[in-house]
Amino acid sequence: MQYELRYQVIEPKRHTYQNVIDRLGDQPASRYLEATLDVQPTENFHYRPTWAQDRELYDDRFSALRLSDPYAFTDPRQYYYTPYVTNRAALHDEFGKTISYLEDRDLLAKLPDAWQAVLSSTVVPLRHYESGAQLVSVAGARFAYGTAIEQCCSFAAFDRIGNAQMLSRVGIAVGGGTAAVLASAKQEWLAGPHLQPLRRLIEEIMVLDDWAEGLLAVDYIDQQLYPLLYQSLDESALLGGAGAYSLFSQHLAAWFADQRKWLDALTKAWADDPERGVANQEHLARIHDTWAPRATEAAAALEATVGDIS
């Protein structure tokens, strides 16, 4: 017997919300666009912030880098909450499987001494760097102008805690299931000479007033650290009998590739802005000149300690 499902055909009166129609015409719009465009309030704020003089609750003057249309930038990954958590659930699930595999076979504890040392004294301490980067990203979640940009910052902030927790779990595994390595790694972070330029740098970035400048300054560090620790060191690990290192570092490399997508698109949107592009390019150059050399310097101090292996 066949069932025939009969639904009434009803013509929609409109295909999406009016603000989306105003921008793109009356056609079906993606969930990303409906959940992103024009969501942030823009006018008629009732009271002035007690914590910031001469600013409205949402104000594009929280950064020198501005877009004439804040939605000229959209996330190339099209992340709104659901695809974001779905993607990251998979990433952390994979990481969890990796770490269980490494733990079950004690593979991290069995790493060659030199690799153990690199992990404990250089890689695991970076969970604190991730935590600092989280603080910088979350400032963008609050102060960036427009939902498209701020939601990327929000997700990046959450990612950073995720990265810090991945590194922490590696530390726990290296410590044979105890907190011993995390404790010594924290000492390295606080006092190890190879990490002090980095710690000084991230602390100085954490107190910047301009959220976008902070974000870019951290990115200059990422651009040095991630390729160094999770790509080139990864290759050395595969060649040097430290496959366990490679197994976990692939997940951080995967994250960094994802992070690049939106940050590169945002930087491009700032530089290409029809009205503010020229001013933005000047600010971008200034920000680069201020922070990129510091990032190189901090990475060099750290690289010296891993140089023996790679």
Binding site: I10, F45, V138, T147, G176
Partner: protein, 502 residues
Amino acid sequence: MTTVQPRAKKLPLKERYSLLTRDLDWEPSYVSRERLYPYTSYEGIKIHDWDGWTDPFRLTVDAYYKYQAEKDKRLYAVLDSFAQSQGHLSLSDASYLNAIKIFIQGVTPLEYAAHRHFAFLARYLEGPAPRFAALCQSVDELRHAQTQIHTISNYNKYYGGFHSWSKMHDRVWYLSVPKSLFDDAMTAGPFEFLISISFSFEYLLTNLLFVPFMSGASFNGDLPTMTFGFSAQSDESRHMTLGLEAIKFLLEQDEDNVPIIQDWIDKWFWRAYRMSALVAGMMDYMLPKPVMSWREAFELYFEDQMLGGLFPDLDFYGIKPPRHVDLAIGEKDHLGHQVYKILHNFSFAAAFTTSTPTDEHMAWLSEQYPSTFDRHYRPTWEKHRRIEAAGGRAFFQGLPQLCQVCQVPMAFTEPSDPTRISFRHSEYRGETFHTCSDGCKWIFDREPEKYVQAWLPVHQIYQGNCGGPTVPDVLNWYGIKEGDNGEYRGSADNTSWLEWHK
């Protein structure tokens, strides 16, 4: 859940959680703590040990992603199937959607505002544990805003009033009530924000506002709203815990915090309660199949659970029930009626429609409100019925007087006399400011510098800032389209509904 993570071998949950969250923090030495956290001292709150904060949920990031992805998988499956099967046709009636219109215009933007400002706490609170809890809440609130936008997106295709929710929230008169409340909280310092939103709103009132509302959605055939609502509420439980943890933490840190916190509870209870009046009107009048009266919900969720349960607990710290709570209790038999009267008077200028209650609905109201409905409210509705029987429909041909603090039209009555409107006013810097109640007047007098700034929609119209001098000018500026507003019977939605159900 199909996959179960293997339990940690050696570290118990508590310790592991602490290592994965608060242990990430370090004491900065290259910059000062004051520069890093510049906003934690000006409100007068004293914190001696940020590690005194505990988080019972102990949610790590991987678990967060796993649970949230699972919740959203379930939710979006419901949304997709409802849309595919034209589920909107099995609602109790299209008029039900008026409640959902107010929801997306009024509440969804608040979720978004909470998202943004919990990010402020996630940046500026000094303790890593509350910062992480705030970060989770910040992304949760984004989830709530976005799942609501997606749930309602399907209704927007077929019904009026949903299409311009974001612009409306910034501009339309009744939406300045919720907007001003969040603006008030966000412009305050981080601790006041925490007490206002996490405690007074999330813990004290959210149950009262959301749970009966979602039950109402379920009862009226609105499966998607019920699903997103209950799904959001599961996050809300974490947020309530943050609120309760916040208040206990602040009270335990220093005795000097107690009067400051009490003052904030007093302010924010009343502020949030006044905003919730919109929900009272909705529950009592806007559901074609009503599920619970405001009075019953208030008794169950506020009087029993909060006054009966929570406040005796807080008494331990020297915290008393909120100032003016007696007024809220005293008007529980009146609130919904007075608020719906406002909406009914002014729906010509709103992005929803209203109707005089039917006989059947009035019978339900009589039953729910035996001491007040027949005596004080039925006669006015009967008068509307007579006008409508003669082919008319009465609206308030003008603009209302608004309360300077809550921004609701000044429709509430004296505690001692439900036939007399309650008028209060204060003088500040030679100017008069009107408030609707002792609660709002007390709030105004406490911080007049703040409330004189209020963007009062009626006054802004009269200043010429809202698109022009005539009603059509203003409606156009609001983004309200022909057919979104006015009387439900004969409205665009009503006409379509009848057409689709021929």
